[in-house]
Symmetry: C2
Subunit: 194 residues, 2 copies
């Protein structure tokens, strides 16, 4: 298991299995982290609502409008964005159940293009990938990952690549996915220990 | 009718009525404008999906998952955000059918608080209000509008206030709500004529 630079262990073992692996655990933990950032006024970062095409809505008397037919849409952007220290921040998050590699198709082509374009405009852009088997959550620069995807000629990114190019995101009870700690290290070095 | 600083007339009269007033025209026009900004790589600004709580999903064989029960949620942020010239940009857009005033309740308390908080973090934040009767679409600084809302002791903002404090957004066939022109004037003066 890879440890953090300061010698702490990676994510506690009891988090390795359990509710994780159903693909929602990472999302919940990021939402908790974002709520903490919001409550402490550190950053304003939200998950975008799931995009759906609404086809039919009923308006029953005296009760709320009820959507009775709708379909999931392919997202045209990433799931998360917001503002941190005056900078636009944008990221996508994915869980990966494989021990050996992350399937590139987990990230939509649209999302890759979106990340490229916000980078061009000056964003802090990254991808969070959790290998559920190892209980490890990596921060990866979106630009670095996109250029790997474009040149690798493979359908997946090896786990080893994340070990070499990613940065482990520390786990913390109130900030389960404290990605801003990595953003501070990468972009605001003078305040890395906030 | 108020004209633009350069003497052009406000929105053409044929846009004053018609499909407008059903509350979706402004949204469509902003989406068109955002697509134009995106296609020309000028900015990356998207409308967030409508937030819904999904209660029931059917998975019919061989066809896409179908949502059969869902409800609209009160949004916790504004509808639009993105990046422009390296800055985080955030806004809400509303149509108003009244001739005399804009009802404050059209903007959720959550959205007002969200705008306050992104301003604190350094965002360009504003509200777009269209008076459909006049065919006029105003850019209003979110900070200025929020402080008016907090101190006015009224349930609506007079039309006159928009004339005095807002800036008319020019209409253009390819950019029906060219709000970045106003953002340039307000925040990037040296390039106001891009």
């Amino acid at each position: 298991m890879v440890n953090y630079p300061d010698g702490r262990k990676a994510r506690p073992a009891e988090h390795k299995t359990g509710a994780g692996g159903r693909g929602m655990e990472l999302e919940k933990e990021i939402n908790l982290t974002n709520s903490y950032y919001l409550d402490t006024d550190r950053a304003v970062i939200h998950k975008k609502p799931t995009p759906v095409t609404i086809v039919k809505v009923d308006y029953p008397m005296r009760t709320a409008a009820k959507i009775t037919e709708a379909y999931f849409k392919v997202p045209s952007t990433t799931d998360y964005n917001g503002i941190y220290r005056g900078k636009y921040l944008d990221f996508e998050a994915k869980e990966c159940a494989s021990k050996t590699s992350f399937p590139i198709k987990s990230i939509h082509e649209h999302q890759i293009r979106h990340l490229d374009s916000v980078i061009r405009h000056g964003a802090i852009a990254f991808v969070i990938v959790r290998f559920t088997v190892y209980g490890e959550t990596y921060y990866v620069d979106a630009g670095e990952m996109n250029s790997y995807i474009r040149t690798c000629g493979r359908s997946s990114i090896p786990y080893k690549w994340f070990q070499e190019h990613g940065i482990l995101i520390p786990y913390n009870y109130v900030k389960p996915v404290d990605y801003l700690q990595i953003v501070d290290q990468r972009f605001f070095k003078e305040n890395a220990n906030d």
